[in-house]
């Protein structure tokens, strides 16, 4: 199989995947249009749980905090 064909196949697959994911985004916006307040309660609950889990992780292993900071600073440096 020629290199061009392989790349074409990968690109087509990438596009298909993205189209599927965007359908899901459209579904989310549909839910928001139906009842934004309810959606926000659900979204914030999820974000808070995720935040609580992180705090718990930091409490159990303080080294993680330093690792996260290092990773965040590397990200900033690369963004310049």
């Amino acid at each position: 199989m020629a290199q061009v064909e392989i790349i074409k196949e990968i690109e087509e697959d990438k596009d298909r995947n993205l189209k599927e994911r965007l359908k899901y985004i459209d579904w989310i916006v549909e839910q928001i249009r139906k009842d934004h307040k309810e959606w926000l309660r659900f979204q914030v609950k999820w974000l808070k749980e995720s935040h609580r889990a992180l705090i718990e992780l930091l409490r159990k292993d303080p080294k993680i905090r330093q690792l996260i900071i290092k990773e965040q600073l590397t990200k900033s440096f690369n963004k310049r």
């Binding site: 995947n17 993205l18 994911r21 965007l22 985004i25 459209d26 989310i28 916006v29 928001i32 249009r33 009842d35 934004h36 307040k37 959606w39 926000l40 309660r41 979204q43 914030v44 609950k45 999820w46 974000l47 808070k48 995720s50 935040h51 992180l54 705090i55 930091l58 905090r65 996260i68 900071i69 965040q72 600073l73 990200k75 900033s76 440096f77 963004k79 310049r80």
Partner: protein, 223 residues
């Protein structure tokens, strides 16, 4: 006369959802958010200091989609501020330190450290990260404007009035969408599609097209 003006402006509010309204006169989004996420609390706390000190700022990037309900996490809330003098930066850090913010790159209570950060990071176009209450995620990523597009979004920021909670100034949505398309990762395209669909009734389509043209992106993933 003032009341008449306000009445007229209120009548002009465009309903977007049962939580969102937009006033094109004042370029204000009224947002009745029933609960706040950790990201919202962080952004509001930080912006309240900038508002207090009269520092022009604008929030850009992923947090804007998260603010309005996109169900994903973001590591940081990105703030762009106007050019600050060294003294103003130190004053800002003093206020932030009083509100339990810490700098990741230095000591927020040490003037020498702040000067170093100002000249070696902010003035050089690097970003500075701040965490609140010692929790590293989500954090604030702060940079001073140094690009044409950053000056534009600062000048044209739209107000998000979180009812009863405070104000956030965010990038014009049209530019945010075009910029996200330019960045081009799956996450960015999803954010762009989310904002486009949610705000479709209030977007200035010619402005969006103009910015898509300027940034060399096409809008095929939006529709």
């Amino acid at each position: 006369m003032i009341n008449f003006k306000r009445e007229k402006e209120e009548k002009e509010n465009i309903r977007i959802t049962n939580s969102l309204e937009f006033n094109p006169f004042t370029k204000t989004i009224y947002f009745n958010k029933p609960v706040l996420s950790p990201e919202d609390e962080l952004a509001l706390k930080f912006s309240s200091v900038l508002e207090k000190l009269g520092i022009r700022y604008v929030i850009v990037a992923g947090y804007i989609a998260v603010l309005f309900g996109r169900n994903r996490r973001t590591d940081d809330v990105d703030f762009i501020v106007e050019e600050l003098s060294e003294e103003k930066f130190i004053e800002l850090c003093r206020e932030l330190g009083d509100m339990e913010f810490e700098l990741m790159q230095g000591n927020i209570r040490d003037s020498k450290s702040l000067r170093y950060i100002y000249y070696n990071y902010l003035r050089e176009g690097y970003r500075v990260r701040l965490m609140w209450k010692n929790i590293p995620i989500p954090n604030i990523e702060l940079k001073m404007k140094n690009k044409i597009i950053e000056e534009y979004v600062l000048r044209n920021a739209i107000r998000v009035q979180l009812l009863g909670l405070g104000i956030l100034r965010i990038s014009p949505l049209e530019i945010q969408i075009a910029y996200k398309l330019r960045l081009g990762s799956i996450k960015d395209i999803e954010d762009a599609r989310f904002l486009y669909n949610l705000f479709i009734n209030i977007l200035d389509k010619s402005l969006l097209n103009e910015w898509c043209r300027k940034l060399g992106v096409n809008t095929k993933w939006l529709k």
